[in-house]
Symmetry: D2
Subunit: 447 residues, 4 copies
Amino acid sequence: MGKRLKMATIGGGSSYTPELVEGLIKRYHELPVGELWLVDIPEGKEKLEIVGALAKRMVEKAGVPIEIHLTLDRRRALEGADFVTTQFRVGGLEARAKDERIPLKYGVIGQETNGPGGLFKGLRTIPVILDIIRDMEELCPDAWLINFTNPAGMVTEAVLRYTKQEKVVGLCNVPIGMRMGVAKLLGVDADRVHIDFAGLNHMVFGLHVYLDGVEVTEKVIDLVAHPDRSGVTMKNIVDLGWEPDFLKGLKVLPCPYHRYYYQTDKMLAEELEAAKTKGTRAEVVQQLEKELFELYKDPNLAIKPPQLEQRGGAYYSDAACSLISSIYNDKRDIQPVNTRNNGAIASIPPESAVEVNCVITKDGPKPIAVGDLPVAVRGLVQQIKSFERVAAEAAVTGDYQTALVAMTINPLVPSDTIAKQMLDEMLEAHKEHLPQFFKQAKTVAGN
Amino acid sequence: MGKRLKMATIGGGSSYTPELVEGLIKRYHELPVGELWLVDIPEGKEKLEIVGALAKRMVEKAGVPIEIHLTLDRRRALEGADFVTTQFRVGGLEARAKDERIPLKYGVIGQETNGPGGLFKGLRTIPVILDIIRDMEELCPDAWLINFTNPAGMVTEAVLRYTKQEKVVGLCNVPIGMRMGVAKLLGVDADRVHIDFAGLNHMVFGLHVYLDGVEVTEKVIDLVAHPDRSGVTMKNIVDLGWEPDFLKGLKVLPCPYHRYYYQTDKMLAEELEAAKTKGTRAEVVQQLEKELFELYKDPNLAIKPPQLEQRGGAYYSDAACSLISSIYNDKRDIQPVNTRNNGAIASIPPESAVEVNCVITKDGPKPIAVGDLPVAVRGLVQQIKSFERVAAEAAVTGDYQTALVAMTINPLVPSDTIAKQMLDEMLEAHKEHLPQFFKQAKTVAGN
Amino acid sequence: MGKRLKMATIGGGSSYTPELVEGLIKRYHELPVGELWLVDIPEGKEKLEIVGALAKRMVEKAGVPIEIHLTLDRRRALEGADFVTTQFRVGGLEARAKDERIPLKYGVIGQETNGPGGLFKGLRTIPVILDIIRDMEELCPDAWLINFTNPAGMVTEAVLRYTKQEKVVGLCNVPIGMRMGVAKLLGVDADRVHIDFAGLNHMVFGLHVYLDGVEVTEKVIDLVAHPDRSGVTMKNIVDLGWEPDFLKGLKVLPCPYHRYYYQTDKMLAEELEAAKTKGTRAEVVQQLEKELFELYKDPNLAIKPPQLEQRGGAYYSDAACSLISSIYNDKRDIQPVNTRNNGAIASIPPESAVEVNCVITKDGPKPIAVGDLPVAVRGLVQQIKSFERVAAEAAVTGDYQTALVAMTINPLVPSDTIAKQMLDEMLEAHKEHLPQFFKQAKTVAGN
Amino acid sequence: MGKRLKMATIGGGSSYTPELVEGLIKRYHELPVGELWLVDIPEGKEKLEIVGALAKRMVEKAGVPIEIHLTLDRRRALEGADFVTTQFRVGGLEARAKDERIPLKYGVIGQETNGPGGLFKGLRTIPVILDIIRDMEELCPDAWLINFTNPAGMVTEAVLRYTKQEKVVGLCNVPIGMRMGVAKLLGVDADRVHIDFAGLNHMVFGLHVYLDGVEVTEKVIDLVAHPDRSGVTMKNIVDLGWEPDFLKGLKVLPCPYHRYYYQTDKMLAEELEAAKTKGTRAEVVQQLEKELFELYKDPNLAIKPPQLEQRGGAYYSDAACSLISSIYNDKRDIQPVNTRNNGAIASIPPESAVEVNCVITKDGPKPIAVGDLPVAVRGLVQQIKSFERVAAEAAVTGDYQTALVAMTINPLVPSDTIAKQMLDEMLEAHKEHLPQFFKQAKTVAGN
């Protein structure tokens, strides 16, 4: 084994970090990470120290020689890195709570990736990502950026359109979760199941499902459609079942997030109810995180606590470390990631980001051509792509009208007027994290 | 002048017919129609006779030698025809009223072209159109089919995909109405205004607006966006204004029907209110038609009565006769029609129907390449195209699941469950006009 | 009539200028050119003065108030111009003679547009065109550039790819010549014939031919293919006939330049013979020009002399003035020009230059979508497009290897080795006009 | 291990068969072929018996339970087969000799795949392949067709366009040969080398070359371009070196067959010389085959004789058995094969056959999207694709004019007239194997 690797994790104080550390420990034999730099901002210092101490106990207990570094100096962490992972959240869960609460006031689902909430998460996140990339160009020009920060599709689109960074991959645990769910439905081991994934982040479809290489798509759809069987969903998304005839007519497997678009009224009712009772997802997670950090503080804890799985990010560790290892080892195995389309999906522009099965090589992901999405799902996917592109443009330019167009064309938003009202209230609520929209105002005020 | 032309109008008993007759009279010098055959079904016999008598008085008064023939025998009318126009309405305005009333019960806009109502209008209409085309192949293989029957986009898509008929054009008065509206806003004659139209039927955008050849798009958008100015809309669509910043950010001119998608909540409220008070559009039109036919009966009336303009089909006459004349005379002028895309709009498949500016030749419309639609509007257009294609497939196959998918993916429909409820109720309500969905049941009943 | 127009013609001393002046005189009622600036370089001063004097006599005799200005100061001519036309020839006919003679030494046709000669004409011309555009951006940013300088396709490609100039049209007299030729074959007036042109410059096909709007393609191909009938060709291209079965199988009308690719051996034999006897085309034209300038000197001559038609540029005047007038008057008529493809031809990239029928508007040419070229001709067209693009890149970068690739992939060139030999000899022969390839050498020499 | 597999090899009497048998023996542990049916036509009975006897000795010696069946009854061999391989040669090497000799008379390279010879090989082969597929649909509808018969690209194109057979893969040993050659140049094991292949059969490029996952394309091109190093070529293609600057400018690795297009004059000279001295390739191979069959007759021989490698088909065995095993075992490894493009190469139609790296699954090859070919090579590839498509159409329709167009547009053919002369002579020479072109004549003769 040659050179040992340096990895930098932006947003290192996240409650997810033990997942990542566990993944690195498990794969140390094939992925020789020598240094893991956990970076955070001053406001996250306490969390960083708690989770960092746990990480140190984990590698020590496992007996692998990974050095854990904690720092608030992002540039130092990036210097000479081989892999950079991003899992930060601008404004924290408080910001996400606003992304969810404000739209609900207008009778609209917030949806932190492809909805109005996702627009604002993008507006806050994209400038920071572009800033990290500028640092990377200078400090670690050969490093790969593995982005987990949502909205992963919009972020990847922005990186592809507005930077020259080609070594970027967006990662999501939805496809792996779908594979696990399908395996459970079929009662088989997940590694016997293969799914041809194609679409966008949180808007991905399973076009064909195979068991031991033999297509079983129709059977799986029947199972998912069956009213007595629990469908394929995620911890953080309510499973409301599907109209069996709709799913059978669709002929492909939707992802859990499709419920927001194909069951808008029901999802809205659920979210309104939850907001009144147990809190929005951000608020539930805030409580979960609080409990997790209490656990993490325990000096006797030296493994990833099982409670972390409740947090919603199941399989992230596996997906991320597996991706990094496949790049490092030029494994040429198949994984679904967010990358430049390159013609793999016919009706999405070749230069746009898509989520699609790729061969993972040392030279990055190479998408497998699927031809095209079925006609019935193509339109919604293209509409979300329009939304992502206009939103990314708004994030980069800070242009108010562009942001309003992004908000209005989002399929969850009922009108230009509601869009404007939400936009105005959310811009104000997130003001401190959206300097690009308030620069001029400040300048004017400064005079 | 050589051979005199034979024209057949299916649905000849429509209240629109005097428009068409007026148009033919005005253009007789360049479009020598010798025979106009007005065809209708037995249920429409009375209307056909009333309107036919008026037509005869009109040509007589005008002193042009157009013979008016009234018939219930479609095949006789088609035999040897040069142009066939279709303006029929399967199930009449009663069916349209159901298309509007039933969705409203579920809190959904019916929308007779691109909404749930449009789906059902398509399911009823497409099989009849395909039947007419089969007759045309036999009886008038060289004739052009000029279709005004809505949903014109979906119907044209179905003809292009499911028949070999290449001589088909779908026609709509929305673009000409937009041009008139823009001219009014600018205070100039309409023939000084040119608009680059592109999109789908009832989903068309004005990409660039020119006055005397000079681009004035931004100025026109400012005028349309101005809260004190009435926008560009149609008799049958309420003008709710637009959020000025949305329209300025969009940078292209939407058509009146875009209000259903960009102002869904407000349009729904309007329609619910109207349904309670003055009746749905179909019901209003039923009353208007009744009054019109009373007028038509007047044996002293020998011109198109001005009240017809209230009916909503303004400019149809001009659009239709102008199209037919340009084909007949190989005029090579520019008109927006529904035709095979052929690459004119990049992100719509080349073989699909689009509504786009075309050069009108004796060999049919040749679309002018626009490159692509702006990113912000591309997604919605593609989604409606998905809807149109799945709906056309359902119309041809009579497949229930396909129809449910079409209904669910329509952007006005909030969920698969509401979709199913509406579908079931509407299928039942329109049963007599949807034999393709009830064939099996009949067969079973026959046993 | 409002403002009178300023027009600047680069290469104004060309023998073609009387054509242009005649065209302007004929159209003065609709195209009010107030000033025509004829620009040339010092080496062309004498010709400029001869042809300029003739131009002045022509406008005087015609009684139209067009001022003729002669200048060697290009910037002064461009200042405030409305239309700029380019008809210059870097290195003059001497350079063209080398473009023809040198390849013949290697048994290769020089071909001044799409062959090895065309490569060198492009290498000499493109930097000058880009220089003119830089001046135009500063001195007449709203002017249209109408380029007649060959290779017009490669030049237009270079302008579209390497500048921000959008107001550029490439013009060629081949399509109009084909229309005239077809009309003659059919024995009808040319304005009754319409041809759907599509392809590239000097690589354009007539996809469909219409007489009075009725398709007569097959009939025309039969006439062209008939061994006893003279085909459709040009003054400067020998008509060797076509294999009738080849043409009938092709099903579209080739242009005269296609003989170089579909009859390479015969054309080569002709050119070798001509080089030995009457001289290459450049040499013939040199003689013709000499005679023309003798005529032009005659102070009694005040019209375009009929001998000019022998020169090969027939219809240029009509094509150019007709184009300019259609732009100026927003005529929206149809003309075949070189412009951005925009999807009009499916298998050519949308951003590339093509030669295709366009609607000519004040906002420029709008290509009419043809779908795609027939499979049989698509490959050759794409190969020439590859050649044009690589050649344009070589012209801009001055990169030797890129130029060698362009030369080798040209379909007239038999091997990489012959390509290298010709390239080296031609680079040396044209050294003074190819500074981009010799910059480094000069610098080195300077040390 | 479950069911044992049945494999049918059409053209089983080929001298290549021992390669295939060796491959099956080596992989028996993972690819349990129970029966191998070698099929041939009556004229090949003797060869079939010789090679069949050797095959039986080989499996016996190896101790694997593969039953070898010899038959002249193709339908019996196909019945219930799991894999069908095709390695037949209509008309045998005699026909190939004509494909080479006749064009040389006209100063044209025959080239048995993408040249005039390839056209005729396609015209003879495609109807037989389509016939086999008709049998397969009936007798083994689930079987995979693995085609080695040249011209493999044209044959795959024909199958994709003119049949409903989706389980077809075209296979060629050129890519594996290039990988071996590159490995040799780099002095490393071949399994450390990875090449991104894309293009068409015998027209494939190595777009990127990797050593242990790190790109080394430029280095490899330098090595190949170096005049003192032997390049990457094949046994059956002379290595004439490349102009170093051409290759460096091209920036991708050509395949050996590219010499026919980039070094046409030199290859022609070589072939003319060879025809005079040692004979054309077919004639050399005829001699080699004769010697091979003498070896095969030896009852003591029970392995593949090393002399077979001289035959030119090196690595075929590995390529074929490796492909079949990856399909059978759903290996999802990467192999370059001929398959439906599906968008993997942007400028080739999605429904056309391409040769491109694919993930090999039980569901067939899934092409990896490469975006597009470099501009410089795109044109030639598209021209060969045009040739393949027109040739396939001629093979299916037997239309003379279509065949003449195919011949004329081939880049090796200098004119329509030479094309016609060669076509006529070759049609006559191959008359007995081209019934589709002589049906009508026969009928006429019958009267």
